[in-house]
């Protein structure tokens, strides 16, 4: 089971490397901005997939980890002058720690109750940050322009942020593959299929679920820090958008819940489509309605998503499309 020998491991990574590498070669700002959003969603979807796709816990609050981890990382950059790399790591670790604490409580809930609790967490986090002085309360935080000197200027800082995001995305997808094809991942899949049966077979479900939640929360924390650093500011309204959580969920369902390539393709497809919808005069205020409709149609007609459907329809592809 050496991952580097499996095409299912390489295909998503190569897609990301090529798709993300173009901007680095061409060096165009508009392409970088577009790909940044794309990569961000690929990484968010792949990390959510570890909890939702493998473990079967539908999480509407994935973006909490993006918001709170991002806030924390950004706080160290703007208030303490930290470099982006350690700040992003601290952002990721903060989210992971939060997930470890939350997991002990909310992962006792199952199904719809868990999903509802995650929405509650999102709103609670927003209310907390709104009233938390060190994070700037409702006005949020911003970076002083002088901070870019450390990176050799604003453009260099933005390119560095982009490169770090590309690396984070690759790592997130590699981790997603490794988890799925491991003993630990098998335990998660067993929980998804039948949690009580998994317990009877010896899976330490509370611990396994919490670890899955922690891994899935770590990456959004990093991505949040990178995203807010790129924007130069952060405020509660940007950090805890419930509809972002839902859109990430739609991406996973579109590409294939529980597959590795699925969230990558789903995020790319949805993001391109949204880009089109947002710029078309007819749909520009309707793109969320479209997300809802897409989710409904997927759940009704292709619940396995694109990759899941292909794997089922053409078993020969299974080796290639993990």
């Amino acid at each position: 089971m050496k991952p580097w020998r499996q095409p299912g491991f390489w295909i998503p990574l190569l897609l990301i490397l090529v798709g993300g590498g173009v901007a680095l070669v061409v060096r165009k700002d508009t392409l970088r901005e577009m790909t940044f959003t794309l990569l961000m969603y690929v990484a968010l979807a792949s990390s959510l997939n570890i909890l939702m796709g493998y473990t079967g816990y539908v999480n509407f609050g994935h973006i909490v980890f993006f918001g709170l981890g991002g806030y924390t990382g950004f706080y160290f950059i703007s208030r303490h002058g930290w470099h982006l790399v350690p700040a992003a790591l601290v952002g990721g670790l903060t989210s992971a720690l939060l997930a470890a604490l939350l997991g002990l409580a909310v992962l006792r809930l199952r199904g719809a109750y868990f999903a509802l609790a995650t929405i509650g967490i999102n709103e609670a986090a927003r209310a907390f940050v709104n009233n938390f002085r060190p994070f700037g309360g409702p006005t949020g935080l911003f970076v002083n322009f002088a901070i870019y000197r450390e990176y050799g200027g604003a453009p260099q800082a933005l390119w560095l942020t982009y490169t770090l995001l590309l690396i984070t995305t690759l790592v997130a997808v590699a981790v997603s593959y490794t988890v799925k094809n491991s003993r630990f991942g098998l335990g998660l899949l067993a929980i998804r299929e039948d949690e009580d049966a998994a317990m009877v077979m010896g899976v330490r479900t509370p611990r396994a679920k919490t670890i899955a939640y922690v891994i899935s929360a770590f990456f959004p924390g990093i991505i949040g820090t990178l995203f807010f650093f790129k924007n130069g500011n952060v405020e509660p309204g940007d950090a805890f958008r419930l509809h972002m959580s839902i859109e990430v969920l739609v991406m996973i369902m579109l590409g294939g819940n529980g597959t590795i390539l699925g969230p990558v393709l789903g995020a790319a497809a949805y993001e391109r489509l949204r880009g089109y919808l947002l710029t078309s005069p007819l749909f520009k205020s309707l793109h969320l309605a479209f997300a809802g409709l897409a989710l409904l149609l997927i759940v009704l007609f292709i619940p396995a998503g694109l990759v899941g459907w292909l794997r089922r329809r053409f078993p020969v592809l299974r080796r290639w499309l993990e």
Binding site: S182, R183, G187, D194, D196, A197, V200, M201, R204
Partner: protein
Amino acid sequence: MILQVENVSKRFGGLQALQDVSFELPEGQILGLIGPNGAGKTTMFNVINGVYPPESGRVIFRGEEITGLPPYEVARRGLARAHQIVRPLNELTVRQNVMVGACYGRKGLSYAAAARVADQVLERVGLAERADQLAGSLNVAQKKRLELARALASHPYLLLLDEVLAGLNPTEVAAMLDLLRRIRDEGVTILMIEHVMQAVMNISDYVIVLDYGKKIAEGTPQEVANDPRVIEAYLGDPKLARCLLEGEESDACPPSEKGV
């Protein structure tokens, strides 16, 4: 004694599911747990493997008290279970299903080692050709064998089998009994709930009878089938007892029992 159950009681609201039940299971034997529907047999299993904690009493497995431990801790100590209502992990392959048992059972095997064990066990229960199919696509008899394979892959000391024969045809029952005997001969102790009476009487070294949550009899199959309390409470008819012991060809069998 591999398993000691001491004065176990379990209540669900107004229903006394188990009342002061005690028994012991020596290593290397097959113990049959029988009783009418609702007698508390499956509840007994749930108490033994930690699905429910009992209100009172103790469960001791290989000298260690396991009362109230969660099911995954019990499983890791070498106590595996096959369910009455099969619970395959539908969207996983048959091999992955068995690998879960191997990875998280007594030996806690690595992923690669679990894959090897899974293939061996599947060969044994006759599911080797189905290894790459999704478990959801198996028929009922195959799913029963998968339940058993999953339990076996965990290398248990003690196997709890809840009606693994139900729904199987006579040929399949014979094959399953043969497999169970071989498993016992390898040193695995078996505690089985069974409704296919002739089979359980045939294979068990010892039988315990529950009725309304109480143990009403225990002994060899011969003793139990002749016990007047068992006949009255459970079988209802002395003729039926003979029928169970002698097989369905016996003239003691009522017509309705034939061919069951």
